[in-house]
Amino acid sequence: MILFKQSRTGFQVPELDGIALHSLVDPVKEAIQMVDAAMPRLMGARTVIVLGLGGGFHLDEIKRQITGNIVVIEARQELADEVLAKDPRRIDKDHVLVAPSTEDLLESSVLLEAMAQKFAIFKHAPSIRIASSYYSKINSLLTDRRIEFLKKMTLHNPRLYSFFERVEKSNSQFDVRAISKTIDLEGTEGDTELIVQVMRELIV
């Protein structure tokens, strides 16, 4: 059940199953602190994939600090409906992916387009605490390093997709150390291969 409570600073804060999704004192200040802490990861991202819509205060702050797009993955339909109804300008509703199964998520062109270029993931901790098993599955999917999943994630990035197709024959995981041994990097000047070499160099 969703209730909205007024914070001391006068903002409407959603409370889900009796748990407030933002500070009831100053949700804006809290959002600034959360986003500031995550900024090193978010900087320069073309899209920030946000796990948890909450009341949207963190979205406002992300929008203020970066110029890229935002895609939200939210567990609860009723929360999304209420929050988007209260302020439709906060985020394009097509960019809020509500409760898809992990399989459906990889069918979402909004998400796949986001994953075709530089992206970052922002986790809204209070939302995740409330629907931990859902977000845990989503997180596992988003961090899966099996080539078959990475191929799905890069469907909208032909360069990376074809790279994963190429390495799939001899690798089941995207382990840069193993991959750079099995693919023929010697003599190749392909960008993708060179970037994989850069990544490999960082872990050697």
């Binding site: 270029q117 961090t143 000047e189 060179l194």
Partner: protein, 554 residues
């Protein structure tokens, strides 16, 4: 013209690399210069003048993504991809890669500038380094055991720069000046102390620092001592704050530069603060400990002093713990010596320092830094024994430069200027020697070099004989054995010179080579280089014989 300078290692390396920027600006007046640095050290950016844009490679961040199971690995890929795209969009006319590692070689390849100096991956042919100077840098990866060039000089020549003046130039911001003004408030001389190092083996113990400061305080009763560091470092040195006239100063890089610009003397270990000091006029005493390799990265300033303990393991490898049961190099740096030397440097008592150098000879080498008129840095020991080996090591370094500059390929070689500079350096190293002493030593060196010259000729002649049948191991193996004996004899007669070191490297390379054609090719190239280098050195030595070393003309 748009130029990108790449320096992707640590702060000290970045500072050394920035030394090319002022000369690039001077020699190519309308150029725009960007730099690509390791993001961890981007806080140095405001201090670097003459740079249009600073690009950061977030090495730590990318490593964290790759290493964490909780992060999407594509994020790491895109981080690199995004940076590369930005760099490509700049359409650089020249990329100067001053980072000598594979990582930077891959990135240079991704940037794809046709005019790339320094390491770059080229596809089918692997990595190339371009200038002979960068190849030289590659050959000097091991800790220095003989005279080698300072990194700033190598970067300068490798970047194709001509100017004689080269040094690190940094910006002393208004806020840094204000910080210095409000910090250095005590009367008398202001002595800055930089005792902290990320590597324990590169500094003294707290007790040694305490003893040094106590003695120095007695020798300089009117001076005030400022120990520089960040908060965590200063916490470990609380005992120093209890000493009279000692203040602990917490400062960032920008503020440290303000202090260095206003201080009278810096006593330091091998840190980035030392490199920053070279952009000021402050007097410097450098303690070269552990993996600190003063020949490559010593204080790049004329008239500074370096204290180098004489232990066979110095300099040791980077990023490894001290391999000795005790910290031998640190133990040799007697607080009394450090305090006395620092005091004498402050008082500009050059004669006193020379006496001290002789007193501690065999235990600690005291070197004075010098810039030749051609702009090269040198650290001259004040008490080296006057023998063939030490003289020859200097001649070897000057020959190496002429060789790298391909002077021997030009119709009129520039031996005169370098010969004059060699004479100056030798006279500074051995100021008390007379003409007869020099004549004897130079004659001996000439004999040795003639022996090397005829040895290389002989080996080249023999190699020619077996060229048609190099696949015949019965002929090749005895030749390689002879080549190995030649290396041992060079090392025995001349010590570790460029020739000896290069032949050793060649032997190391062919040890892992199975293709006999490649083996023969490598040996031949090495022998040709050895002959050219020896001929250059012979000319220099003969030039010295007629130049009147020790005040007597032949």
């Amino acid at each position: 013209m748009k130029i990108l300078v790449v320096s992707m290692l640590r702060l000290g390396d970045i500072l050394l690399a920035t030394s090319v920027i002022p000369n690039l600006k001077r020699e190519i007046p309308d150029c725009d210069i960007d730099i690509l640095i390791n993001g961890q050290f981007s806080k140095v950016s405001p201090l670097i003048p003459g740079v249009r844009k600073v690009y950061s490679f977030d090495r730590q961040g990318i490593q964290e993504i790759i290493g964490s199971a909780d992060r999407n690995v594509l994020e790491a890929f895109y981080q690199v991809d995004d940076l590369v795209s930005q760099l490509r969009e700049e359409k650089y006319d020249r990329v100067i890669n001053l980072t000598h590692n594979r990582l930077s070689g891959w990135i240079a390849a991704l940037i794809g500038c046709p005019d790339t100096q320094g390491v770059v991956y080229t596809g089918a042919t692997g990595f190339k380094v371009g200038s002979k100077w960068f190849r030289y840098l590659n050959d000097q990866a091991e800790p220095s055991r003989h005279q080698v060039f300072h990194f700033i000089d190598v970067f300068h020549y490798g970047s194709g720069l001509k100017s004689r003046n080269r040094r690190i130039e940094l910006t002393n911001t208004a806020s840094a000046q204000e910080f210095a003004k409000s910090t250095l408030i005590h009367s008398g001389k202001r002595i800055l102390i930089q005792p902290f190092s990320a590597e324990k083996k590169k500094t003294l113990t707290n007790q040694q620092w305490k003893n040094t400061l106590e003695l120095l305080s007695k020798l300089e009763p009117h001076a005030h001592f400022y120990v520089l560091g960040v908060a965590d470092e200063l916490k470990t040195a609380a005992s120093l704050a209890l000493l009279e006239r000692v203040s602990l100063v917490e400062c960032n890089l920008e503020q440290a530069f303000g202090l260095l610009s206003a201080g009278d003397l810096l006593l330091t270990v091998d840190t980035s603060i030392k490199h920053m000091a070279s952009a000021t006029k402050i007097k410097v005493v450098e303690l070269s400990l552990g993996s600190s390799d003063y020949q490559k990265t010593g204080i790049y300033q004329a008239g500074a002093y370096i204290l180098q303990p004489q232990v066979p393991c110095a300099p040791c490898e980077h990023r490894t713990q001290c391999s000795r049961p005790t910290h031998e190099c640190g133990n040799l740096l007697d607080p009394e010596l450090v305090a006395m030397c620092t005091s004498q440097v402050l008082r500009q008592d050059d004669a006193g320092i020379r006496i001290l150098a002789h007193e501690y000879a065999g235990q600690v080498q005291i070197l004075r830094t010098y810039l030749t008129t051609t702009g090269d840095w040198a650290a001259i020991s004040l008490a080296d024994p006057f023998d063939e080996r030490h003289i020859q090591s200097w001649a070897d370094r000057f020959s190496q430069k002429l060789f790298l500059m391909r002077a021997h390929e030009r119709p009129v070689a520039e031996f005169g200027t370098e010969g004059d500079q060699l004479k100056v350096v030798l006279e500074k190293a051995f100021p008390d020697r007379g003409g007869a002493d020099w004549r004897n030593q130079l004659k001996r060196i000439e004999t040795d070099l003639n022996w090397v010259e005829s040895g290389t000729q002989e080996l080249l002649g023999e190699l020619k004989q077996i060229l048609g049948s190099f696949a015949d191991t019965q002929k090749l193996d005895p030749f390689i054995e002879k080549f190995q004996r030649f290396e041992s004899e060079i090392l025995e007669r001349l010590g570790l010179t460029s020739n000896g070191a290069q032949i050793s490297r060649c032997l190391e390379e062919i040890r892992h080579e199975t293709n006999t054609f490649v083996i023969v090719k490598k040996i031949r190239e090495q022998l040709v280089s050895a002959r050219q280098l020896t001929n250059i050195e012979l000319k220099l030595i003969r030039g010295l014989q007629t130049a009147g070393l020790g005040g007597v003309h032949q």
